[in-house]
């Protein structure tokens, strides 16, 4: 427990940044859920929109990955 206050800040910050992953999970679930709801309402149009679905998921997930990256940077690089 002889670590300095900066390290404490790093670890707390990394943990807080980790919350972003959970938020991204909510976002991805939202995208996929809405896609499924729409697809069940109009299944014939769903096939052509899978690319859009993946793009949407990728954008939502990228932000979660960014927060994970921030956490990693705080843990290992700063």
């Amino acid at each position: 427990m002889e670590g300095d206050i900066a390290q404490l800040g790093q670890y707390i910050g990394a943990g807080l940044a980790g919350i972003g992953s959970g938020a991204a999970a909510i976002g991805v679930g939202h995208v996929a859920g809405n896609f499924l709801a729409g697809a069940l309402r109009n299944p014939s149009a769903a096939g052509g929109q899978t690319a859009t679905l993946f793009i949407g998921i990728a954008f939502a997930e990228a932000l979660g990955i960014f927060s994970f990256l921030v956490a990693l940077l705080l843990m290992f690089a700063v």
Binding site: L72, L73, M75, F76, A77, V78
Partner: protein, 187 residues
């Protein structure tokens, strides 16, 4: 800081870094700028090799295979279409032959009927003619018989008249008696 990581991992410190100071953390290897040149160089080599392999060999070959398959399928479909047309043609020919045969049969039946009718007509006509001839002959004979009967009646009447006249004592003039009898018979 990244610079520190960089400095710590550069040169001789690189070799020293191992399990011993792993607990302290190697930092993020992704931010170790001393390896960037190496990675980028090998990445570019890889991409160039891949690009040439793909664009010169693999992709044209696969495109050719797919095109060939598509061609084969199209050809087969065309052949199938052709065969189908041929089958339709054959069916049509068969139907036509059937219709012809039927028409022929009808014609033959009609001919036969007409022939029979003609024969029948002829026979009927012949029979009619025969009957007519026979009837005429019969009539003629009846006429003859009637004529001979008349003649006989005339003769009998004349003889009778002559006898009656002579019995009454008169000299019978043959010619006058005959005229009188004829006149009477004609009545």
């Amino acid at each position: 800081m990244a610079e520190e990581t960089n400095a710590a991992t550069g040169g001789a410190a690189d070799a020293a870094r191992g399990a011993a100071d792993a607990a302290q953390g190697p930092g993020m290897p992704q931010l170790d700028f001393s390896t960037y040149a190496n990675q980028i160089f090998w990445l570019l080599v890889t991409l160039v090799v891949l690009y040439f392999v793909l664009s010169r060999i693999a992709l044209p070959r696969i495109a050719a295979i797919l095109a060939e398959r598509k061609g084969t399928i199209t050809n087969d479909l065309a052949a199938a279409e052709d065969l189908k047309a041929k089958a339709a043609e054959a069916e049509e020919a068969y139907n036509k032959a059937l219709a012809d045969a039927r028409a022929e049969a009808h014609k033959i039946i009609a001919d036969a009927k007409a022939e029979i009718q003609a024969d029948l007509d002829e026979a009927t006509e012949k029979a009619d003619a025969e009957i007519a001839a026979k009837a005429a002959e019969s009539e003629k004979r009846i006429e003859e018989i009637r004529a001979s009967a008349m003649e006989s009646v005339k003769e009998v009447a004349r003889d009778t008249a002559q006898e009656v006249v002579s019995a009454l004592g008169f000299k019978a003039d043959e010619k006058a008696v005959t005229d009188a009898v004829d006149k009477r018979l004609k009545g």
